[in-house]
Symmetry: C2
Subunit: 437 residues, 2 copies
């Protein structure tokens, strides 16, 4: 499942100069199987439990094929009306299926959803909207001038730091977590915002996480949201992985308080049977996004945009151009039905519980985290954990990844792939026990 | 070719609530043809001459299908070695085919290529690298603090302004153009850089354009490049459309001086038979990119990255995750051969010349621009041009788009689609003459 290859092996296997003459697609297919596939880490393999998953499904793959064949570019409504309106429809559908507030739907008239390539891009877009609001538009011409602040915890995804950096804000301000929980401390956030205001700085955006990468911690969105409303600070909630769980009513509590957020993002490509890239981002204030990002040179003018009656997704994202992004999500939602997607979530969570149960019952193993599809565990000593990790990283038949919990090394297994089943869990567990001996 | 639909027609045609039950792929395919395809603007239609093209080809579509099916995520070398190394190989291939300097190749050891989603993202990445260099890393923690400056002309693509804004720099500084040419005036740039330094500001990045969107103007890269070297300012060259032309030796002069650039971007999805997104960006200083964007939490640690012997493309782009981006460019380059891609460029340029010739010969028409595949023209009076534009925008059988040249409205036709032929040109010209009468 993970390839046995040294750095540079493909570099030397392929010609160093480009082909002058055309070759047949048959030759390409043969070479794909001969030289490319053996060098891939197979993210769709059942025993791939690394990182968070990247999903796919027959419906998604078929839709990608059709999307590529149609080859339309939906930067504006006028450049393919159905591409834009389908995205409005499916993001409204998904908002309903996930239990999001009406304000996040296009049909509300003030909010709506958009498909980004990644949770990273969602952070950048949310930050632009936040700066637009906090600066009353001044940021667009004057830059950030070292005055605006972003806040998150140290457990936020690396894309939050990267987003802050790329937006010219420097490092985000790290807010303390409630002891032993990994959850942002709202009182600490409040104090930091007060201090920053007193120092003449402008608190602009808080990024809260629902389901952190390391331990699947959930920041207290209700408290943070009330604080952000009171302080007029943009609240972006990143639920890249865990957000899909709220398809099921029994996990809706994960997004308590989400109506207080200004924007929210879930990676359908992580846990909703949709191929990457498919990050779905919603906002309740689309004017802040478009005010921040709209630029209209003469070559993009058109009657539909001028009428103000349409959505132009170019103003909701970093790039200008965009493929038809919604078709695959439309295919996935209809081919599975919301019922099918819900059952998939429950199936994956049951498998995680199965592994967690095996770990708990095993002497010399310690279960650190079991939340949704995430299982994090360690051995009795850190040396034993490190030894297990290095053996696991050398085993080509499965993939678990390293992490650390409370400063101690740990092993991380994430469920959410459609191809994992109970037999896989038994196999993975058998390998883990073997490597631990 | 352009759909006859009112804003909101798909919104009302589709159910407002998501489907609870699964449906068959057959139903989805039928609905795609019934409700989606009629609402698309068909970018692959022969008479689509709007904007710059978005290409595709059988090889590209097949590769997208395979990419979706394999479903790997190549954020790091270790998460799919062949995905990363294939991207190193094909960007090196393309650098050779386009006549780029060795310093832009991975094999040089200091530079290399990466596939971005868009020229916009390439600007953002180049800006991050430029800020890293100009601030000696200080920007990463302290933000832009209103001190760093970006420069371009008013003819630069809208993504340059958007990039500057998103990077926290405010508006880019607009440098005057040489009279009647649309080309950046290097003396004006030099004077502005001097003024900014005198004011305590830090000139960080110049974005020059090879082939502007409106008139296909080419900034004088040799002069700008020498100035940037002398001033230690990052030079990014955006050749999103025109860059593909240098596949042919007779157009290599377009990139004279490119060895002086720090980064360079060409959209293979515009004019190289490759589906969107496929922006190829090269740099001669990859350390500036990775120093700017690398963040390594424990869950991304792995022995290959720690060894320093591999490329991790997550540090060359905005998002963390990425699909296997190189497969379709590999397929396109091999299925066409560089010879085939060259012939495609020449074919498209011949068609543009054919239309330009017809316009020149027609009383009451004035040819404003004829460069590579771009033809821009106007009628004898601005009122007549505006009238022609509005009739063209209402004609569903072809697409030309509006622009302005020297403050006067004009019609823009861009060639570069594989499906346009001489018959198309005759048809389009017949419609234009009819609408003009």
């Amino acid at each position: 499942m993970t390839p046995q290859c040294e750095p540079g092996s493909l570099l030397t296997a392929l010609p160093s100069a480009p082909p002058e003459q055309a070759e047949s697609l048959g030759e390409l297919l043969a070479d794909t199987w001969k030289v490319i596939v053996p060098g891939l880490t197979h993210w769709q393999h059942p025993a791939f439990l690394g990182y968070f998953p990247t999903n796919n499904s027959p419906a998604s793959v078929l839709a990608e094929y059709i999307t590529a064949g149609l080859g339309v570019q939906g930067m504006m409504w006028s450049t393919s009306p159905a591409a834009t309106e389908l995205e409005q429809v499916v993001t409204d559908w998904l908002a309903q299926a996930l239990g999001l507030p009406d304000a996040f739907r296009h049909s509300s008239g003030r909010g709506g959803g958009v498909i980004q390539d990644s949770a990273s891009s969602a952070v950048i877009v949310a930050t632009a909207a936040a700066l637009q609001r906090a600066s009353q538009g001044r940021w667009r011409t004057a830059g950030t001038e070292g005055r605006y602040r972003m806040y998150c915890t140290e457990r936020a995804h690396s894309c939050v730091s990267k987003g802050a950096r790329l937006a010219g804000l420097g490092e985000p301000q790290l807010i303390a977590t409630l002891p032993g929980t990994g959850r942002m401390d709202p009182d600490a956030l409040s104090a930091r915002i007060d201090d920053d205001r007193a120092a003449g700085l402008i608190p602009a955006v808080v990024v809260a996480t629902v389901g952190t990468t390391d331990v699947c911690a959930v920041d207290p969105v209700p408290d943070i949201g009330q604080l952000c409303r009171r302080e007029d600070v943009w609240l972006h909630v990143d639920a890249a992985y865990a957000g899909s769980a709220t398809l099921c009513p029994e996990y809706r509590h994960l997004i308590d308080g989400i109506a207080l957020a200004d924007s929210y993002a879930v990676n359908a490509h992580k846990w909703m049977r949709t191929g990457t890239p498919c990050d779905v981002m919603w906002t309740s204030d689309r004017a802040a996004l478009t005010d921040a990002m709209s630029i209209s040179p003469s070559y993009l003018r058109n009657p539909a945009t001028d009428s103000g009656r349409v959505v132009d997704f170019r103003d909701w994202q970093v790039p200008l151009g965009r493929p038809m992004r919604a078709l695959k999500l439309w295919y996935v939602m209809r081919a599975h039905g919301v019922e099918g997607l819900r059952e998939a979530i429950r199936h994956d969570i049951r498998l995680a519980a199965q592994l967690a149960h095996l770990i708990t019952a095993e002497p010399g193993f310690h279960l650190e985290v079991h939340e949704l599809g995430l299982v994090v565990f360690r051995r009795d000593t850190d040396d034993n954990t490190r030894d297990l990790l290095s053996r696991l990283q050398a085993d080509p038949t499965l993939l678990c990844t390293p992490t650390s919990v409370n400063g101690r090394p740990a092993v991380r297994a994430a469920f959410g792939s459609p191809y994992v089943d109970a037999d896989t869990v038994h196999y993975v567990w058998k390998r883990i026990r073997t490597h631990a001996q």
